[in-house]
């Protein structure tokens, strides 16, 4: 009985089996727990099982969890490293299973114990008496499977080498620095690093002892056989299988305590996302938790964060934020408040984690007390009568009031187009509420928003035009206004298309900067370019544009970045956007102000250029 048990469960497989069991239990537990804790609506998860959603999830899991296509897009070498490890290992398991099936005598032999394909070489050599006599037998004898397994092992080992290289010499990957580790990470990473070399040696020794193996393990085995006497070789087979099993076991147990948890979480996250679950405003929410655990700490966000590049701030990026939240470390002010909330990390994150939301949630949670009457005086100061019906409402916003040339240009443009408009905040503006929201003072922001909303609706206008992309994003996405909201770039584009605005095309060369709030926040990238093409010659050299655009550094999102740090960010961005030193055009009063402080060339808002080129 005991002997029979040992046949199926040789002792050395125990570490592996225990680890795997632990891993699977964790997976089930975490998945259930996150599902229960979804704040949005737990039942939404059922939608994930609709055929089209399942299909989408499977597709995305293959693309991202196995092939890591998004990482490939970011960085070839890094992509190869992830893919070779994940997909290579996956294939190794698949091939191992097929081969195991064949070795065991084809299909229909029933359920295979999980350790069997993993330690196949061991079992295959020990029990080689049961080789089948089918056609597939041929492929085994020709060594097809052995060859494939060796090839895959080689690919994985190359990925491992890259991983070592990245840890000790991250610049090879064009990355500035790789992420810092916790103890759990170190142990699990150490185990992961050892798994495949251990497997290589175990298989090679086995091959050497029994004369099997393909180009890699076979050759290495021959070498071993040459230098080590057969008796010793046979004796050293077991210890190496032990090492292999133990490293696997440690790895599986370590996963939930390390960043490798992402292997387990990411498929769950993808599934939830495809089921239509939306993030909530609390980080304890199941979806947010799945996001936080899905961060692989690949470091891509650190690499794309301008704070990391232009200043030396490298401790508050999403990778660290997710780590601290996950391990319940109290968040420092620096972690919370330095971030510009520019969102570049979000668009470059291969797991598509919405770290802006996560951080905003933490900021909100910081305010234990709110002032309900912060803006109680507003109704008194806003006594002005509701304007008799206008079509268009223009809202300059605080930032535009600090860059008066923009509002003047807009007045000129709207008059030239003969629009029936009202300048809503001509005599003093009420903030759109965004800065307060960004700092987490939701309750106070709501008061401002209510006052603005009332004013806007009372005007009876059908269209609200803003000059500031920050206001634009807020009015459009947070206010639920019954009227259309456009940014002035879109509005000008419309005026041109409708023939209301006649412009002269000049041969002035200009560079355009996509304001992050406009391009990333509200996806307006075509309108400004069309407008510019109508009046000037656009010379676009920036590679990071559209939703990947750089932040000017002036962002209201950060309350801790110093002026010097902001200027460094702006300078670095300028070198990228405007290397040939043309006039720099932006479409955001904040960008304009920030860049104007450090630019050698003139910085103008798009409206200025338009106003200058109106046909008389």
């Amino acid at each position: 009985m005991y002997k029979y048990f040992l046949d199926i469960f040789p002792l050395f497989t125990i570490p592996f089996n225990v680890g795997l069991l632990f891993f699977i239990c964790t997976m089930i537990y975490k998945t259930l727990r996150w599902t229960m804790e979804i704040e949005d609506s737990q039942w939404k998860i059922l939608k994930g099982f609709l055929p089209q959603n399942i299909w989408a999830s499977v597709k995305e899991i293959c693309r991202e969890s196995l092939l890591h296509l998004r990482i490939f897009k970011q960085n070839l070498l890094l992509g190869y490293m992830h893919t070779s490890l994940a997909f290579g290992w996956f294939l190794l398991i698949v091939f191992g299973n097929i081969e195991a099936k064949i070795v065991r005598g084809g299909l229909g032999t029933g359920f295979e114990l999980p350790h069997y394909p993993i330690f196949l070489k061991y079992f295959a050599t020990e029990g080689s008496h049961s080789l089948p006599k089918t056609v597939i037998d041929f492929s085994i004898r020709t060594g097809f499977f052995d060859f494939m397994m060796d090839l895959l092992l080689l690919i994985i080992l190359s990925g491992c080498c890259l991983a070592y290289l990245k840890r000790f010499h991250s610049t090879t990957f064009g990355m500035k620095r790789t992420t810092k580790l916790r103890l759990g990470d170190k142990i699990t990473m150490g185990a992961l690093w050892c798994i495949f070399p251990a497997r290589l040696i175990a298989e090679s020794i086995t091959s050497g002892a029994y004369g099997t193996g393909s180009f890699l393990t076979g050759t290495l085995g021959n070498v071993f056989a040459q230098i080590i006497p057969q008796a010793y070789l046979l004796k050293s087979v077991a210890p190496f299988w032990w090492i292999y099993s133990i490293t696997l076991g440690i790895f599986f147990v370590g996963v939930p305590y390390s960043r490798y948890m992402h292997i387990l979480s990411e498929p769950v996250l993808i599934f939830m996302r495809n089921a239509g679950v939306k993030p909530s405003k609390k980080n304890s929410d199941g979806f947010s938790q799945a996001e936080i655990f899905s961060c692989s700490r690949c470091g891509i966000c650190v690499n794309n964060c301008q704070l990391a590049r232009a200043t030396e701030i490298r401790s508050m990026q999403p990778t660290y934020l997710n780590r601290e939240i996950r391990h319940h470390v109290p968040l420092s002010q620096e972690m919370l408040r330095t971030c510009l909330m520019c969102g570049r990390c979000n668009v470059t994150c291969p797991v598509k984690i919405d770290s802006i939301q996560t951080r905003a949630n933490e900021r909100r949670a910081m305010w234990s007390k709110h002032n309900e009457n912060c803006f109680a005086y507003l109704p008194k100061v806003l006594k002005e009568s509701a304007e008799n019906s206008v079509d268009v409402l223009y809202f300059a916003g605080c930032m535009t009031h600090l860059t008066p040339v923009i509002k003047n240009s807009m007045m000129k443009i709207m008059r030239a187009a003969d629009e029936n408009f009202q300048f809503l905040d001509e005599n003093g503006t009420i903030c759109c509420g965004r800065p307060l929201k960004l700092s987490g003072q939701e309750v106070e922001a709501e008061q401002l928003m209510a006052a603005n909303k009332e004013r806007i609706i009372n005007s009876g206008a059908k269209l609200l035009v803003t000059s500031c992309p920050i206001c634009y994003n807020t009015f459009k996405n947070e206010y639920n206004l019954p009227i259309e909201v456009v940014h002035h770039t879109e509005y000008i584009q419309r005026l041109i298309a409708e023939g209301k605005l006649q412009l002269t095309k000049t041969d002035e060369q200009v560079a355009y900067h996509d304001p992050c709030e406009l391009a990333r926040g509200t996806h307006v990238t075509v309108a400004p370019r069309e407008v510019l093409n109508a009046i000037a010659v656009l010379d676009e050299q920036a590679k990071q544009k559209g939703e990947k655009t750089l932040c000017c550094g002036g962002s209201l999102g950060s309350t801790r970045a110093t002026n010097e740090q902001r200027q460094n960010i702006a300078k670095a961005a300028l070198r990228h956007i405007n290397p040939d030193k043309h006039t720099l055009v932006t479409a955001c009063p904040m960008c304009k102000r920030t860049f104007a402080q450090v630019s050698d060339t003139k910085v103008v808002d798009i409206s200025e250029l338009v106003a200058k080129n109106i046909k008389e």
Binding site: H401, L402, T403, P404, V405, N408, N563, E564, Q567, K592, R593, A596, Q597, V598
Partner: protein, 346 residues
């Protein structure tokens, strides 16, 4: 005869040239404009005693009328190199070479570009001008708005582009406070019923005669000094400037309309000299002004041997301070050059 190259023919450059010439050095004075004098030429009258700026310029011009001084106008130094023996070779913009034993940078400053403080509306609203623009008006003998009217109410804003982290300038420009007071008095003298408001953070009346000028402005001329920063300026229908100020003494926001707004623009380092400084490895401070060796004992030498500095290229200075600094630079050069001569004799 030992040779000194002086870059910049403003107050510092002229004073140093005059002093060095008398001490027996051959001086080449390079000036990029077609006249000597620098910024001071643009000024009408000077604090603290309302002396016409021409007097200062003429005084300095007399000093440089010396056989030892060779003046090269309308030229800049495009290249400056150190010879193996430690002396310098400069190439001027007309390709002519100038060799010198030591070089004195008297390259001065740049007035802050008020457009960069866009919220005050310079270059956007017709009647927002700078202190330098007002001096030009004084020179022409009349102060009028862009529409040709005589202003009845004028606002003067202190610290524009100075002590302002947003502009990246943390330092105080030293002379604008007293200039603001001086210009307020001059406005009062020129336009009998004009109301003048000075908006300041604090008033730095450190020099001889400054405090008296400040008292005169308050007591005799009834200039209104308002402590607080201008938060917003916008243009009214008839081209007045509508101001929002927080009066931090009374603790109340204040709104008013003025006919004219004058911005007291501060000093900035002269960026056009940066390539030259960098080519020689001359260090700058974080604010961009040239770094001196020691703030107490060695104010006229840079980190590079043989390169001296005088005047406002190292920090904001008044004219009196600039002249003192130039004298001290001349003396420092004299000391070092004559020491070298003695060394050789040994």
């Amino acid at each position: 005869m030992k040779k000194v190259l002086i870059i910049g023919g403003g107050v510092a450059g002229m004073e140093a040239a005059g002093q060095l010439a008398v001490l027996g050095y051959s001086v080449v004075l390079v000036e990029r404009k077609d006249v000597l004098g620098g910024h001071v030429r643009k000024w009408d009258r000077l604090f603290p005693n309302k002396r016409p700026s021409e007097e200062v310029v003429n005084h300095l011009l007399q000093k440089v009328q010396h056989p030892n001084v060779e003046i090269r106008l309308k030229r800049t130094v495009t290249d400056l190199r150190r010879n193996p023996n430690g002396s310098f070779l400069a190439i001027l913009s007309d390709q002519s070479p100038v060799s010198a034993d030591v070089v004195l940078f008297a390259t001065g400053y740049h007035l802050f570009d008020a457009y960069r403080k866009e919220e005050y509306g310079y270059g956007i609203y017709n009647n927002v001008i700078t202190s330098a623009d007002l001096e030009r008006m004084f020179k022409n003998g009349e102060v009028k708005t862009a529409e040709g009217k005589i202003p009845q109410r004028v606002g003067i804003v202190h610290c524009v582009g100075s002590r302002d982290t947003k502009c990246g300038n943390l330092y105080c420009s030293r002379v604008c406070c007293v200039t603001g007071v001086k210009q307020a008095i001059e406005l009062k003298e020129l336009i009998p019923n004009v109301e003048v408001f000075n908006f300041y953070m604090d008033l730095r009346m450190f020099g001889r005669g400054f405090e008296q000028l400040y008292l005169e402005a308050q007591q005799k001329h009834r200039v209104r000094f308002v402590r607080g920063r201008l938060s917003e300026a916008s243009e009214t229908q008839d081209h007045g400037i509508f101001l929002k100020v927080d009066d931090t003494l009374v603790g109340r926001p204040m709104k008013m309309t003025v006919d004219m707004l004058v911005l007291m623009v501060g000093f900035e380092p002269r960026k056009t000299t940066f390539p030259l400084l960098e080519s020689l490895g001359i260090e700058k401070n974080e604010d961009g002004f040239i770094k001196i060796r020691d703030c107490h004992f060695d104010e006229n030498r840079t980190n590079v041997d043989g390169i001296y500095v005088a005047g406002t290229c190292t920090s904001a200075k008044s004219i009196s301070e600039t002249i003192n600094d130039a004298c001290s630079a001349a003396l420092q050069i004299h000391r070092n050059l004559s020491a070298k001569v003695k060394d050789k004799r040994k």
